[in-house]
Amino acid sequence: MDKERPLAIKTQKLSLWYGTFQALFDVDLEIRGGMITSLIGPSGCGKSTFLRCINRINERLGYVRTAGKVHVLGNDIYAPAVELLQVRKQVGMVFQRPNPLPLSIRDNVLFGYRIHNRDKGRLSKAAGDEIAESALRRVLLWESVKDKLGSPGGGLSLEEQQKLCIARLMPVKPAVLLMDEPCSALDPNGTEAVEELIWELREEYTVLIVTHNMAQARRASDECIFMLMGKVVEHRSTGEMFVTPRHKETADYIEGRYG
């Protein structure tokens, strides 16, 4: 285990309520940068909720209340002076169902870039093409879409759509990628392709991935966090957790006794 890697995400006593229902209880986590950390646990354990705190997308729902601290790369993202725009620039998100915007493939990739570079004036055609190409190449999608950049992103296969959703984060240059069960809507081949892609991205990004799939967590993550009922039960390197889980709940879940 490489303990020298810097902290990317640190939470202190993070609690969250949906109305009166408490979904997270004093979550203290330290997630290291430049690796893949997977969040596992049964449905409703709060792993997606936790993930959605890291870019404050939870706040879209008006009835959510959070307490505690979340630091991303040393910055308290819940501090009053923090701009949401900056948080989301640093922390990209990939959703459970591929959700390309109702725009062309090219515009999908450039959407985030345009938003975060408004002061630089209009993006020239050539510059836009270059950005789009490098982002699409990065997610291994360029070859299959290079001749139809103008067609709608929703027309691609689910696997391609999910890759497109990852590609549109690249030009924004986030440090952290949040992935909320990114493969659950894909077929086995698509899952494999997207997993491989995520594995490759870990060189450059801190990846935090929620998954229901034990095998996926095991083969495609460096560290693993097991959550239950809104609390963190165990956080260790994936290899260790799957071989010698410390807690009985973890062992039971990993072995498929519930969940």
């Binding site: 959703f95 959700n99 938003i115 549109r168 984060l169």
Partner: protein
């Protein structure tokens, strides 16, 4: 295959259709009166609903047939279509030279509807965007109810407002001799068309999947960027349909326009000119004509024209909406 039951099952499966059919027939023959009260109720309701559904078609064709019967012969025969569309002289009651030029009436309707849309489109789209994208909880509910209430105000009340409130107001504000004009009826009609446009536009915005908004927000877009770059383009067709239906509403509106427009035959050159609308002409004159006279038939010709225009507008709106669904 030891037990007799499993043999029977196997037989039924092998004998496919025939054996199975015979079995069903036999079981029904045992109690012939399997039709319970529920069955009759079910059939009855089915027939009622069918009649309800088909009646819309029957009524549309019925109305169209009736209007055509009264006006078509006149259009084909003595009506000069060239005069109808190009002459501003609508003088059907003239004893020596009745003329049937509808240009001024068309111009009247078009100018009032045009002004109404100019005022109503930004307002209703703005309201729809606010209700669908920004308002939450109670404010949203209250606004929706208010908009629907606005749609429920009878048109004669709107006309009354135009006549008794807007009229003196316009005379005072703009220092013009008459306040019953394109401006007055345009504002009134705009207010009348806004609720329906708001409701339909809001539906169109609501139909945009929330995943789009979430995706854009997660990329760092502000709410306005989400609305302008994602939601509005995605809801484009529905919004166009909303505007078209508003136009249709404006074209067809009668009473309020009759009361607020001044009802004088005139091709308007400014918003302070009085005009007369197609619909208002029919409403005002039909009661005073002899059934079957040329004047009577000419009014039906106006009706056919209105019918066609609103039909085309609504059909276009419908096709545009369908375009949304297909994608």
């Amino acid at each position: 295959m030891g037990s007799p039951e499993s043999a029977e099952v196997a037989g039924a499966v092998e004998g496919a259709g025939v054996a199975e059919g015979a079995g069903v027939a036999a079981s029904f023959a045992e109690d012939a009166d399997a039709r319970t009260m529920a069955w009759y109720v079910d059939k009855g309701v089915e027939i009622l609903v069918f009649i309800g559904g088909v009646s819309a078609i029957i009524f549309i064709f019925g109305i169209f047939g009736f209007v055509m019967k009264e006006g078509a012969g006149f259009i084909a025969g003595s009506l000069d279509l060239g005069e109808f569309f190009t002459s501003p002289r609508w003088a059907p009651t003239s004893s020596y030279n009745p003329t049937y030029g509808a240009l001024a009436l068309i111009a009247g309707t078009a100018s009032v509807t045009g002004l109404a849309m100019l005022l109503a489109v930004p307002f209703s789209l703005g309201t729809a965007i606010y209700i669908a994208e920004f308002a939450t909880g109670r404010i949203r509910e209250i606004l929706k109810v208010l908009v629907e209430l606005l749609a429920a105000i009878p048109s004669v009340v709107w006309g009354f407002i135009g006549l008794s409130i807007m009229n003196p107001l316009i005379i005072d504000l703009f220092n013009v001799p008459v306040g019953l004009s394109v401006l007055n009826s345009g504002i009134i009609l705009g207010l009348m068309a806004a609720p329906i446009m708001t409701t339909i536009a809001e539906d169109a915005l609501k139909a945009v999947p929330d995943t789009y908004r979430e995706a854009a927000e997660a990329l760092g877009a502000t709410r306005w960027q989400v609305v302008f770059r994602v939601v509005l383009p995605a809801a484009k067709n529905g919004l166009v349909a909303a505007v078209l239906l508003g136009v249709g509403r404006g074209f067809g509106e009668t009473m309020a326009v009759l009361m607020a427009s001044g009802h004088s035959i005139n091709i308007p050159t400014s918003v302070f000119d009085s005009v007369r609308a197609l619909t208002a002409t029919i409403a005002a004159e039909l009661g005073e004509t002899a059934v079957g006279s040329d004047h009577y038939k000419a009014l039906f010709a106006l009706g056919i024209f209105l019918f066609l225009v609103t039909f085309i507008i609504n059909l276009t709106a419908d096709l545009v909406i369908r375009g949304v669904r297909k994608r």
